[in-house]
Symmetry: C2
């Protein structure tokens, strides 16, 4: 029997294991310093009470035969798809419940979308970006091209007309750089996709962190997107669902490729390989959109953004250059003196007792940068900000630059 050779090509991602190993060693050597973790993707705020109550109630509904729910709609329960459509309407984007598919996570959806396209498809990935785009493209055996984020383009690479691709991944607000495309920039990407008959896979997982109405929150704010784009979004960062698991994808019924409706193909894929999202979870997700739920989850987003402000201001005050953190929970810092990501990581760990994420872990273009996450508690972030503001970057570079 032959194994899937593309799966074997996938390099083990040692980023988190390596971070954990270095942190462990540091803790052994510095038992008295409080280590501050600003490297994690995971949220720390508890779930909104409205969500907890909705899930408790849904669990109790299942107790009697009259209100029991068995197999549900594989596309997602209509009550949740309607609420999601209503959410989009609240920022003037028209999405119909019929175009929405509910699932157990943005990662699953982004990965499973690969099932729709031939292995020969070429894919264009931003660099740096969320590693799942790259890993799942490798697993699918695709040819991979990169659009490079740099300090000069504000980590918002634009299309190159001469470059042909079939699939385009965009992530805005971006993980790890926190950069957010403008409407004009997305319009260019939509134009490029139409010219090349390519599909945009738009990852909007950090959409709730956009604080200005001048910036787009959905690809479907852009004219023409409904015939060249799908959008993936999640309750994970918007409402703390990292352990609850719920997400959605929008595949407009108007979206055609090679004479086939991608909406219908995805339905066929989901009907064959998926059996719907937990009813209890979907009830919790719908509660996110109740007035009470919205008040609660927006307060949490606000909390994290105040954390981001604290980190960003501390770094700026101590002379560092950053992007992100304004409309995203991640602050992206240029390492001082052109230090490499891992050297700067070691310096931050040893001199400040702070664990960040080395930028190079998100792609080669991340070399020379580190990412700070604002998903910690206020207490942790305040301490980290104080240490960062007081950091002696010259000494840090001198000691840790290799």
């Amino acid at each position: 029997m032959q194994l899937n050779q593309n799966l074997l090509k996938l390099e083990q991602n040692y980023l988190f294991a390596e971070i954990a190993a270095r942190v462990r060693k540091y803790k052994e050597q510095h038992p008295d310093t409080e280590l501050l973790s600003l490297g994690v993707n995971d949220v720390t705020r508890p779930l909104a009470p409205a969500v907890c109550n909705a899930m408790s109630a849904a669990a109790q509904e299942m107790r009697s035969a009259e209100s029991f729910h068995g197999y549900g709609d594989v596309q997602g329960e209509y009550f949740l798809r309607s609420s999601i459509a209503g959410y989009y309407r609240s920022f003037n984007v028209c999405v119909e419940p019929e175009d929405i598919f509910v699932s157990d996570g943005a990662k699953s959806d982004l990965a499973n979308l690969c099932d729709l396209f031939a292995p020969e498809s070429t894919v264009l990935l931003p660099n740096p970006v969320y590693p799942v785009f790259y890993d799942t493209s490798v697993m699918a055996g695709r040819r991979i091209l990169f659009s490079c984020g740099t300090k000069e383009n504000g980590f918002l690479p634009m299309p190159e007309e001469q470059l042909h691709t079939d699939l385009i991944y965009l992530c805005s607000p971006n993980n790890p750089t926190g950069a957010v495309y403008s409407r004009a920039q997305l319009q260019e990407w939509v134009g490029y996709a139409h010219e090349h008959r390519a599909l945009i896979i738009y990852d909007a997982a950090y959409e709730a962190y956009v604080r200005s109405s001048a910036l787009p929150r959905s690809i479907f704010e852009i004219a023409g997107a409904e015939t060249c784009a799908v959008e993936v979004n999640s309750f994970s960062k918007m409402a703390g669902f990292t352990g609850v698991r719920c997400s959605w994808m929008i595949i407009p019924r108007a979206l055609m490729h090679s004479g086939q409706s991608l909406h219908k193909l995805w339905m066929r894929r989901q009907s064959t390989k998926y059996n719907g999202t937990s009813y209890i979870v979907q009830r919790g997700a719908a509660a996110v959109f109740s007035p009470e739920g919205q008040r609660q989850v927006r307060a949490d987003v606000q909390y994290y953004m105040e954390n981001a402000d604290l980190i960003r201001n501390a770094l700026t005050r101590s002379g560092m250059f950053t992007t992100g953190g304004e409309h995203a929970p991640y602050v992206w810092m240029e390492c001082p003196y052109r230090m490499k990501s891992w050297d700067c990581f070691d310096g931050l760990l040893s001199r400040c007792g702070i664990a960040a994420s080395p930028g190079v872990g998100f792609g080669g273009q991340g070399e020379g940068w580190v990412r700070f996450s604002s998903f910690g508690s206020r207490e942790t972030i305040k301490k980290a900000a104080a240490r960062l503001a007081a950091a002696d970057w010259d000494a840090l570079a001198l000691l840790y630059m290799r």
Copy 2:
């Protein structure tokens, strides 16, 4: 851009749509007859109170920062994997928590397993069987061979030595035939798998319905299985989780193929394309194995099996030949007078007001058979049993045989 041609090859499964259309027409023409549905896969008993309470409590745990759970172990929470291992120990099967992966459904796992093997792999499928084996094999672009279930072999096909395959799907107790392999038969399959260096993918989703200790409940009761088999099982039919979504797969760490650990490959696949199962759902699943939970879910299985007895006895009394229903929730009936499945379906619908499942919907070998499900309420099943016992099969055949 090229679409996945294998996905396009997948025929739309019209079985359920066709059943629904015929039932609708019947209801219009017979507004005064109560239609009894014995065609559904879905359970009707409510969730065990122990499970509902565990999920309610877990939802409330998420309410405070101290007991909040974010991203979990992608393999499944250890408390649940330990409980599953304990369940296997209760029928003397040794499975370690480290060998278990928790996920959101047996369908997802059976489908996603395809990611591990090259498209060139040959697959051997029982016929008739659960259609997902076939559909996902088509989507993966595999060469498909069939091992044929017949009345003569009791719908328990055995390996043919001269036939080479890479992947072997077995489903026991079988959906739709209710047939259950003996230990000696499974031992033959394990021997065959070793000779051909093939992998057995063992679907044990109906394991909880086995009523005799003379019959195996897991492939891992068989010597040598740990180096040639994986097992998929689910809470759906064992504990009514069709709307809650939870399942598990056992991939022994001892299982190697082409020099690679399948356990590690699956871990890599899951880490790349999945983000773990809902914490709340996993707490509910763990409660299934509490003494109270076991008492409750076993009572439900017992309830369905009494339904199966009612159906089976009624059919036997009226002279029909059946298999299954003894250690499985499905009763598999040979159509009278060599009628075809759909003709018999029409006859049962028109003469008895009963909707069954045409056997041919589960593969060509199901032609001439129909499946009755015992997942209805006792009231429905009692009425159906009375109608079946009193059925005039001669008239039914005369009128509906084409």
